[in-house]
């Protein structure tokens, strides 16, 4: 499979004044670190992103000034912690344009959010022979929870296949919808191919067929403007750590009626209204789904990250990353024509470039690049079935974020030349 050619009519996004990634980079303390005596060239942002000073300051401010449990204390620092924690919900709601802040449930990450939906909505809804439609390009997080669910309930999984260019086969999707699935769940942006899927169109078709739709936004929120209302989603999940926030933060957004009808997932403090020895009543949404002491520090960093990205402007972030992707694809093709590149053209992709160096295993590529301080990901990127589909054991992946620059890509090209030199032809 080779990279597809640019589709007619799909152009580059426009985002106003371009971002200055060098100025942004200066706000990320880790870039003052050296690796093997060289400055860090971090090209694994799709795995997890680096954190700006603003996020670290927010987290440290909590620890140093008002570290207290939320929703509990009748004292100054407890009230401040609660206010900060709930203010994050409002920031996140704005970030994805949720109509109601109480529709935002905090989770550890996208994985927990998907499991929450599978355990609550899923176990209550999916019955024998009910189908769930996924795609061949899903991350394990949006595949394995559904496998467990259909195993328990004796339901069925169906998969939208991909074309050789890494696009979803919408013609097959239409056929699968005739099975009248209860749920269609797919990623907005592929973490391996970078493909930006036509979410709105797919949601409309699913709804017309009577299915609800869960969108895995883990690779979308860091890179493209997201509006859950415009997308028409029923469930939308994502992680904080890929969008400049601390690990341990993430969210499930769902429509109020859905959340209210869902039974709780985990049980314990905070998610209850009243507890007796043999029965309990649940708290209102979203707290019904937030059992136990939440990670307020991570949440506060999550809010700071969302505010940071909104201040940059997600349109400009998208434009910046589109420029990088286009530059990366062009440069790699021109300078290292022997590489195999995977996925669709720049206009249809998020901040990911996957490739292989002929006759060199991705692990060896990554290891050699590391000696130059360059961090890329090598492996299956938690998309084993996609790699099976492409008949590949593994791929190399370079991925970007707001702090990435063309210099990073130039460094990658130099590093790959060295790989080719060491391994010969």
């Amino acid at each position: 499979m080779a990279i597809a050619t640019e589709q007619p009519g799909v152009g580059a996004p426009h985002g106003g004044t371009p971002l200055d990634p060098h100025a942004i980079r200066a706000e990320f303390p880790i870039f003052r670190t050296t690796v093997h005596g060289r400055p860090l060239i971090y090209l694994d942002s799709a795995s997890t992103s680096q954190k700006p000073q603003a996020v670290l300051d927010a987290v440290n401010g909590y620890y140093r000034e008002y570290n207290a449990n939320v929703h509990r204390g009748i004292y100054e620092i407890g009230e401040r912690a609660t206010e900060a924690y709930e203010a994050v919900r409002a920031s996140i709601a704005r970030f994805i344009n949720a109509p109601d802040v109480h529709e935002v449930v905090f989770t550890r990450n996208a994985t927990e959010a998907i499991n929450l939906v599978a355990y609550t909505w899923g176990r209550r809804t999916i019955g024998q022979s009910d189908a769930i439609v996924l795609t061949e390009m899903e991350h394990h997080a949006n595949l394995v929870p559904w496998q467990l669910l259909v195993q328990e309930k004796d339901g069925d999984l169906e998969f939208i296949p991909i074309t050789d260019e890494g696009r979803l086969r919408l013609d097959v999707y239409d056929v699968l919808l005739r099975l009248r699935p209860r749920l269609v769940a797919f990623t907005q942006v592929s973490n391996t191919l970078g493909t930006i899927n036509p979410v709105r169109e797919m949601v409309d078709r699913a709804h017309a067929a009577g299915a609800l739709v869960l969108i895995d936004g883990a690779q979308a929120v860091p890179h493209v403007p997201v509006d859950v209302q415009a997308l028409g989603a029923d469930f939308y999940v994502f992680s904080g750590h890929k969008m400049l926030a601390p690990p341990g933060s993430g969210a499930l957004w769902a429509r109020r009626e859905l959340l209210e009808a869902m039974p709780p997932f985990m049980a314990g403090g905070e998610m209850i209204r009243e507890v007796h020895l043999r029965r309990s009543e649940w708290n209102a949404i979203p707290w019904k789904f937030e059992a136990g002491t939440p990670d307020a520090a991570a949440a506060i960093g999550f809010g700071a990250a969302a505010e940071y990205l909104m201040a940059l402007g997600m349109d400009r972030v998208r434009a910046h990353e589109h420029d990088l992707i286009a530059y990366a694809l062009d440069t790699l093709r021109a300078e290292l024509p022997q590489l195999t590149l995977y996925g669709p053209p720049a206009a249809e992709r998020g901040g990911v470039v996957s490739f292989n160096v002929p006759n060199v295993h991705p692990h060896d590529v990554a290891q050699i690049l590391d000696r130059f301080g360059i961090a890329i990901r090598a492996g299956h990127h938690c998309t084993m079935p996609l790699h099976e589909r492409l008949d590949l054991a593994a791929t190399c992946r370079a991925s970007f974020n707001v702090y990435s620059t063309r210099d990073d890509i130039d460094a990658l090209v130099d590093g790959l030349r060295e790989v080719v030199r060491i391994f010969g032809d």
């Binding site: 295993h361 692990h363 492996g379 790699h387 054991a393 060295e418 391994f423």
Partner: protein, 131 residues
């Protein structure tokens, strides 16, 4: 430039020794490292308590393939008892390069696979990986 990719390692990777299928193996085992996509099939021909023949096939990174090449050289013609005593350290010494924790699985796949093949032949390996 890189200790890990010494010439002899790359040489074993490009032209692995003992690569190929045995006609009449007494034991065969396919080991895999699904996280990496590395696979090695190890074939032994044990006669009179000696590893008379050995072959392997597979695909994977330079470290895993060079390791299999070096390991099969090492065991060919040796008594199975001695082969069964090989330790992780013995294999790392054979490789002669510094292996980071993330690559240890690559390096050890050949030894793990060998131990499973030995276990199939009724020989209990010292490390117990096959148990």
């Amino acid at each position: 430039m890189d200790d890990l990719y010494r010439d002899y390692i790359l040489e074993h990777y490009r032209r692995p020794h003992n690569f190929g299928v045995l006609e009449q193996p007494t034991a065969t085992y396919e080991g895999a490292n699904p996280l990496c996509g590395d696979r090695i099939t190890m074939m032994l021909g044990i006669r009179d308590g000696v590893v008379a023949e050995v072959g392997f096939t597979g695909r994977g990174c330079a470290i895993s393939q060079a390791s299999a090449s070096l390991l099969t050289d090492e065991i060919k013609g040796k008594p199975v008892d001695a082969v069964a005593k090989l330790t992780t350290q013995d294999l790392l010494d054979l490789l002669g390069i510094e292996i980071s924790p993330a690559r240890l699985k690559c390096a050890l796949l050949s030894l793990d696979t060998l131990e499973h093949a030995l276990a199939e032949s009724g020989v209990a390996p010292a490390r117990g990986a096959a148990s």
